[in-house]
Symmetry: C2
Subunit: 212 residues, 2 copies
């Protein structure tokens, strides 16, 4: 059962709501990031949550106290999950996890980005172990490097793996699923299309076809 | 010439504006983070900028494209500078730096947090070198570990060093300045005080006293 997540990286409230409605039958979650939230206000999370559960991709990477405040703002506005950077350390992850527990929410941990970082890759395995050991709900692993998804799967066992970087960034739906991802995150290929619904349906069907 | 920065980590717009006005004669910059911006809207940066220049402490740590959008939102709303995580890698730092150049703004790079992270400390020296080599304007180095400020000073030469963690987190004004910081960042000690102006004045005078 592999799912599809729309990375809703547009800047306009109305377009975000329209896109979410268009693709809602094909996606499991909506992922929002700061460009949209800073443009439309954090209330956009609550509005979108009425269409599909929302993952607040805030890549939280602050000291524990501030990180917990950021996570609280997301959950208070009906987010289903938040994304936190593992590199911020175990104290920060635990602080965010405590807040998510209050709300019955989930925490997904960035192990490495879909872009290149000369630093993150050096300890993404350690971050995955930490996320697993303290009880986070999932990790973010790059579809742009399917071999890393496969390696991280060995570490995290049955935890959820969410993989961004499919489409515009070069990751392949098929290879990422084969490597062990539970959710494929797609953004630009859908929201910049003239027919976002058709593109979402196509990706959805490719995913389902692979499961047969 | 060491300066004082207020970390304006309150959640209420009116209180933020009031605090900024109270302490304005003693601080050089106001630093805002997501808890305030998510509560009050990003327009708070523009409002506060009329009192003192604002540093958007967004600890940007995303892929280059998204990071540039976040930086743009900050600068479009009159931020003077943004804070970016070095660990996101050189591509992200360069993308943020390109946006700051458009606006004549500055970019400060987190080398390590004032809290503990088992990961960040392993390559904070490398991050400082990267920030220096690509032309960022300053680094964030922890007042909670003054010896690290001193070591990072050797790497970054004449770049600005901004040091958070003074006061509530345990860092000392005197030791942090002695180690080579250009700006002391103070939050809770000022904004949770019954007399924020008096506390800001006291820290300001201690800083000036050390310069004599």
């Amino acid at each position: 059962m592999v799912g599809l997540i729309l990375a809703l990286d547009v800047m306009d409230r109305n377009r975000a709501i329209w896109l979410a409605r268009e693709v809602s039958e094909y996606v499991d979650y909506l992922k929002v990031n700061y460009p949209l939230v800073l443009s439309a206000g954090i209330e956009i999370i609550r509005e979108l949550s009425e269409i599909k559960p929302v993952i607040a991709d805030f890549k939280i990477a602050d000291i524990p106290y501030t990180s917990s405040l950021i996570a609280r703002k997301a959950f208070e506005n009906s987010a289903f999950a938040v994304i936190c950077h593992g590199m911020a350390g175990s104290d920060t992850l635990k602080a965010v996890l405590d807040v998510s527990d209050e709300f019955g929410g989930e925490v997904y941990v960035v192990t490495e980005l879909s872009s290149e970082s000369e630093f993150l890759r050096k300890f993404s395995d350690e971050i995955a172990m930490l996320a697993r050991d303290i009880g986070c709900h999932g990790i973010i692993a790059p579809a742009t490097r399917a071999e890393r998804v496969a390696q991280l799967r060995k570490i995290v066992g049955s935890m959820k793996i969410l993989s961004p970087g499919v489409g515009a960034q070069g990751g392949s739906v098929e290879e990422t699923i084969k490597a062990g991802a539970d959710y494929i995150i797609v953004g630009r290929s859908i929201y910049t299309s003239d027919e976002p619904k058709a593109v979402a349906r196509d990706i959805y069907e490719r995913i389902k076809g692979l499961e047969v």
